[in-house]
Symmetry: none
Subunit: 226 residues, 2 copies
DNA sequence: ACGCTTGCGTTCATTCTGTTCACCCCTGCG
DNA sequence: CGCAGGGGTGAACAGAATGAACGCAAGCGT
């Protein structure tokens, strides 16, 4: 199976580099181009005849056109290249339209590498199933393809940590500025456990810690989500 | 929440009637039109201004144009109406293209009413989440929308589960707040079996689980029906 | 400096989870 | 009527997640 060829479309040069680096950290993917505007992106896709790019990492906020318009133009031109929306647009109307235009996934900026990799790996798996030139025999095969692409996110937590507790802690943390003890009080969880989860969040860059000075005694650690 | 308005596109008159009847058997859906050709379908959609139809049940094998071309024309015209592909085309290439054009689902003919209803109900649930004019706060909310639309299907009880036991467990659960052990005690079923059924209920969103904190030792899981 | 104060970070007992596997019951078949 | 097979159940077990206890770390005050 040859690599999946990706075109990165992102106007901010630093982010474009970051997305490129992220993509190439995922086995099976290779970046074949970077575009900074909608015009460049469409030119790159046209030039390549629509067969040399498998997946477009498309920022929706571009200087010249909106990403949704790029999608529409692609579809109108008969291209069936796959699109992964990478954007900070949180409007449900935009999500709806993106879905109707067939984006494979919709990744909110800023994102962690884990979230990014999850989307790419799902796409790779979908592609493995869909790329064959054969035919599907039964409904459940089609269902499985759709589910592979869009099914619930799998997230692997370290041992000793529980997913539900993690959500509870995250919710209690709110906008941050809380110590482990305070999070514990808010959730009914013990300080020890609250700390366990807060430290996990720090370890995966979903929170930061800072000491609280000014009072006697050892300073308290204050956690804040990122 | 008003009904979801459906346009049925199917050239075979008998099948068109059948699809219409099926659709109206699903609560929350209403058929607002039937078209027998691609031309008719596009005319109907244009006439209605693109805002009076929420979902198109689209046969791909039409006398004048292929369903895929209808999709492409819709997208090119800026319509973001949702499309449920209903077709006997089993080519993976067709499925791939359909996905890239944003079809919500792909239903192989011939199909059972159960399979059909599953697709419509998933779409309704997706719509409920996506229709608000608000904004999404986090990645997992978008993920849930995609998963609702495309997640794995489960219409029958998995092996190893018995319907009668399921009802017993559901009845014992009452308003919730019970652990697997407690449900077991109330029903005379073992904890293991009670848990088996409770977890099934969670997996199909008919119950939620939350840990009970405060005491030493691994927390108990508390189940609550939704 | 040096103690004082306060909470951090860790260890470990505790309790319940999740899984495995043997058993039992039912059904179909020779 | 005996036997094989499969689906559903529960006893036993390995280990997962929590919180109490405790020693030590880290600022503050004199």
């Amino acid at each position: 199976m040859s690599d999946i060829r990706v075109l990165v479309v992102e106007d901010e040069p630093l982010l474009a580099e970051a997305h490129k680096a992220y993509t190439e950290r995922v086995p099976g993917f290779v970046v074949v181009g970077v575009a900074h505007t909608a015009r460049d992106a469409m030119a790159a896709l046209r030039q390549r005849g629509g067969t040399d790019v498998d997946l477009v990492l498309l920022d929706f906020r571009l200087p010249d056109l909106h990403g949704l318009d790029v999608c529409r133009a692609l579809r109108a031109a008969g291209s069936s290249v796959d699109v992964l929306a990478v954007t900070s647009a949180r409007d449900l109307a935009v999500v709806r339209t993106a879905v109707s235009l067939g984006v494979t996934h919709y990744l909110l900026k800023p994102f962690t590498f884990a979230a990014f990799r999850d989307k790419l790996e799902r796409y790779a798996e979908y592609r493995r199933q869909a790329l064959a030139d054969g035919e599907v025999a039964a409904q459940h095969e089609v269902d499985r393809m759709f589910a592979t692409l869009r099914g619930a996110t799998r997230h692997t937590l370290p041992k000793g940590l529980d997913e539900h507790t993690l959500h509870t802690v995250l919710a209690a943390l709110g906008d941050g500025g809380l110590s482990a003890t305070e999070v514990g009080q808010r959730t009914g969880i013990s300080r020890v456990t609250a700390r366990r989860y807060l430290e996990y969040l720090v370890s995966v860059d979903r929170a930061v810690r800072a000491p609280r000075y000014g009072t006697p005694g050892r300073p308290e650690m204050e956690y804040r989500p990122t």
